[in-house]
């Protein structure tokens, strides 16, 4: 985000530099300033390089080897990648990850927008309390969330009890253990976790939208829906972009909820890429394969988040 800020300031800087052409000492000072600035960045960059960039490069390197993590590795070229793109199981994990985008990103954003749309028309009492309550899922440890939902979805859990109470006995099932319902059931946990975040972001954003825009829309005779489309939605463009990037990333690298609810089952119904990566790196000790899967997943996340930013960038 800081980079974005720099871009906004860029034309300003060029103007300063342009003026500087006329006075040489100023150039030197500017030059020295710039060098000093880089020096300040150095410690941060060293950490970033050592703990983020270097492991990333190493992972990329591992992806071309067959390696158990301990003994000598063997160069296998693109074999690990070929294995990912030709294995039905591996490809299905990416399909599941895309399904999770629906539950982790699309639904939470829509729900968040609807709530904000309503709020711009209707005054909600105890907004602060509501915001806190809805944000709680974000703060809880995912393991806690997963254990709680495992109980909610269990054969003897509250969902089935409620269904039985209203006579829908035939609908009851072990929701996480059923081939048809496991994926949506896990997905809905993600929806529950994520929509609070989206809502808080959107409420924050909507408070920045000038009230006179709403008044103008009303004067022009806009109904609630038109008002939402013409004022609220465009006003939240930046927030929607941030929310989508966070939630899409969370959907694709989702691990803890699946790990603690279904372990990828039943069958392969909820198997996801990060599970394959973890399993390869720590359980079956196919480090090269796991690294290749990580590279594919990282690339996918970068492409998608990049795409979202390109689509939703602020036009001036």
């Amino acid at each position: 985000m800081s980079l974005g800020h720099r871009d906004v300031a860029a034309p300003e800087k060029r103007r300063v530099a342009g003026r500087a052409l006329r006075s040489r000492p100023a150039t030197r000072r500017a030059h020295r300033l710039r060098t000093t600035a880089w020096l300040y960045l150095l410690p941060g960059f060293a950490f970033y390089g050592a703990f983020s960039l270097w492991p990333l490069i190493e992972t990329f390197q591992y992806s071309f080897y067959k390696w158990d993590g301990i003994t000598a590795a063997k160069w296998v070229g693109l074999k690990n990648y070929i294995k990912i793109f030709t294995s039905e199981d591996a490809l299905s994990t990416f399909a599941h990850a895309f399904t999770f985008i629906l539950f982790y990103a699309a639904i939470p954003v829509v729900v968040g927008l609807v709530i904000v749309g309503v709020m711009t028309r209707v005054r909600i009492r105890l907004l602060g309390l509501l915001r806190t309550v809805l944000f709680i899922p974000q703060i809880l440890a995912m393991v806690v969330v997963a254990v709680a939902w495992r109980w909610i979805y269990a054969e003897s859990g509250p969902i089935n009890a409620a269904l039985e109470a209203i006579g829908l006995d035939s609908w009851t099932r072990a929701w996480l253990g059923d081939f048809k319902t496991a994926l949506p059931a896990v997905g809905l946990i993600g929806t529950w976790v994520m929509y609070g975040l989206c809502m808080v972001l959107f409420i924050g954003g909507s408070q920045k939208i000038p009230r006179d825009l709403y008044e103008a829309a009303k004067l022009d005779g806009a109904g609630p829906f038109q008002e939402f489309m013409a004022v609220t939605l465009p006003g939240l463009r930046g927030e929607i972009s941030v929310a989508l990037i966070l939630t899409v990333t969370a959907a694709l690298r989702n691990f803890d909820i699946v790990w603690n609810t279904t372990s990828g089952g039943p069958g392969n119904a909820t198997l996801i890429p990060s599970y394959l990566i973890f399993e390869g790196a720590f359980v079956t000790r196919q480090v090269g394969y796991a690294a290749a899967a990580s590279v594919v997943l990282t690339t996918l996340i970068l492409l998608l988040t990049g795409g979202i930013q390109a689509l939703l960038r602020q036009r001036k």
Binding site: D7, I57, K66, I70, G177, G265, G267, V283, Q286
Partner: protein, 497 residues
């Protein structure tokens, strides 16, 4: 995220577009250069290459190999090939030392009793035990053994993904001398030891050098609820035929025949199916397949019969409903509280069940269709000694005490089945008594069959998912067999590369 923020944004100035394009071009160039750099790096130095110059298995070299048996590490002797049990005097020569142990959390109750006893008898040793949950331990112990500060004693697991790598990398000490010196040969089936023997490069198991020992045997078997059997008017089953009839009777009486919790895709595909498979398939054939023998196959008439039986049980509702949504822990707890007639699983579940009701349940091994006792099991979670240990004498003494006859009763008190002195211990209740009987039957005339998930590093999940799909009617026995054999063949090919 950062690169996108700046490269995608366009400037609003009139020259904006060109600035952006130029910037973009520079970025592409940077990307190309860094890619080339990374590629160069990638090719230059292989991960794990430190052991590349040494042939596999030779790197570790037992660190304690004084040529003349001379004193080392503060005066202790040479323990690289012991011929008699290590004595407190031998260990005292180390001076004050710390013995580091990494153990499965399931061993905690037993080790808590052992450590004070050990420290009393070996006063110069302080034992530091790190307990980890099973999965956590399996994920970290190899790296710990590979580090410069490895645990001296550690739990391991059979199979290529654990012991295979430890042997190949030379991380653990051969234990044949230990077995001989401590007299652990008598009265124990050879099949129990074979699962811990490996060839020098860790690519085959079943014969060769022993690399681990076990403390308490863990056969897979059948738990039964005594009260429920009585209600149903049934005797404890002795064979797979008896069990089949009992399941039918239980189901007809409206009881849940088998309690199962399988959210983790375990134990249906590996342990439960394993027990059924042991009933129909030839033990030697299964073990050969597990060990990766040339030409071995999962596709045998016995295994097909076992799969058909498992499917039939599932279709008859013998596992009840919702077992894929229930965790194994919850299932064991529910069973101990009286839900379900039978439970198929390892003897290690006995501790939990007997804690709830020491006399309410029984345990039995089943006679296979061949008429012999055969079941999946081992001589216990393998205990290994680091080949880099600076105090191997203390490590040996520690495991010697753990597996001694004097210590056997402690295992028994915790509801477990000690490998040493199985016949001499006093059971905690009738459940354990029946478990001791079962273990005896196995030691005397039965066969240990390996766990099916040892066959390949990914076999646990392969079996787990396929079993769920088989019982859900999504695949048939043919597909199950083809998938599992396919996984095996793929791994065999990788292994030979």
């Amino acid at each position: 995220m950062a690169p996108f923020t700046s490269s995608i944004r366009t400037f609003t100035t009139s020259k904006g577009t060109s600035v952006n394009t130029k910037k973009h071009r520079r970025r592409v160039l940077t990307a190309l250069v860094s890619t080339a750099l990374i590629a160069g790096l990638t090719a230059s130095c292989a991960p794990g290459s430190k052991s590349e110059d040494a042939p596999p298995g030779s790197e570790p070299a037992a660190p304690v190999e004084p040529s003349d048996g001379a004193a080392q590490d503060g005066g202790a002797g040479d323990f690289s090939n012991i011929t008699a049990p290590v004595t407190p005097k031998d260990v005292a020569a180390y001076g004050d030392i710390t013995l580091s142990v990494w153990a499965d959390a399931g061993e905690e109750t037993v080790l808590e009793k052992l450590v004070p006893l050990f420290e009393e008898q070996y006063p110069n040793v302080t034992v530091e035990v790190t307990y980890k949950g099973w999965d956590d331990l399996m994920e970290t112990v190899i790296n710990a053994l590979d580090s410069n500060n490895p645990p001296d004693v550690a739990n391991s697991n059979q199979g290529f993904a654990m012991m295979g790598i430890e042997v190949k990398a030379g991380l653990i000490r051969p234990m044949d001398d230990f077995r001989a010196a401590y007299g652990m040969s008598e009265g124990l089936p050879e099949s129990g030891w074979e699962t811990m023997t490996w060839n020098p490069d860790g690519s085959e198991w079943g014969s060769g050098t022993l690399y681990a020992i076990g403390g308490a045997t863990q056969p897979q078997g059948l738990f039964y609820n005594r009260a429920k059997l009585e209600e149903l008017g049934l005797e404890p089953p002795e064979s797979i035929g008896d069990l089949d009839a009992a399941l039918k009777a239980a189901s007809e009486a409206g009881e849940l025949p088998i309690m199962l919790g399988n959210t983790d895709q375990y134990p249906l595909g590996s342990h439960v199916f394993g027990i059924v498979n042991d009933m129909y398939a030839d033990p030697a054939a299964i073990n050969a397949w597990l060990a990766g023998a040339e030409g071995a196959t999962f596709d045998t008439p016995g295994t097909r019969e076992a799969l058909t039986k498992l499917k039939e049980w599932g279709e008859s509702g013998y596992f009840g409903e919702g077992y894929n949504g229930r965790s194994l822990d919850d299932a064991v707890a529910a069973y101990a509280k009286g839900e379900g007639v039978f439970f198929l699983g390892g003897s290690f579940n006995g501790a939990k069940i007997s804690a709830e009701s020491p006399d309410g349940f029984g345990y039995a091994l089943l006679k296979a269709t061949s008429g012999d006792y055969a079941t999946t099991g081992t001589l216990g979670t393998p205990w290994t000694i680091s080949s880099k240990s600076k105090v191997p004498g203390a490590a040996i003494a520690f495991l010697g005490m753990l597996t001694s006859k004097d210590f056997a009763q402690v295992y028994a008190d915790e509801g477990r089945l000690p490998v040493a002195d199985l016949g001499g211990v006093t059971p905690t209740g009738s459940l354990q008594e029946s478990m001791l009987v079962a273990a005896h039957q196995l030691f005397e005339g039965g066969d240990f069959i390996g766990f099916l998930d040892w066959a390949s590093p990914t076999m646990q999940r392969e079996l787990g998912t396929n079993a769920q799909e088989l019982l859900a009617g999504q695949i048939d026995v043919d597909t199950f067999v083809a998938n599992v054999q396919g996984n095996w063949e793929e791994f065999q090919e990788e292994r030979k590369e």
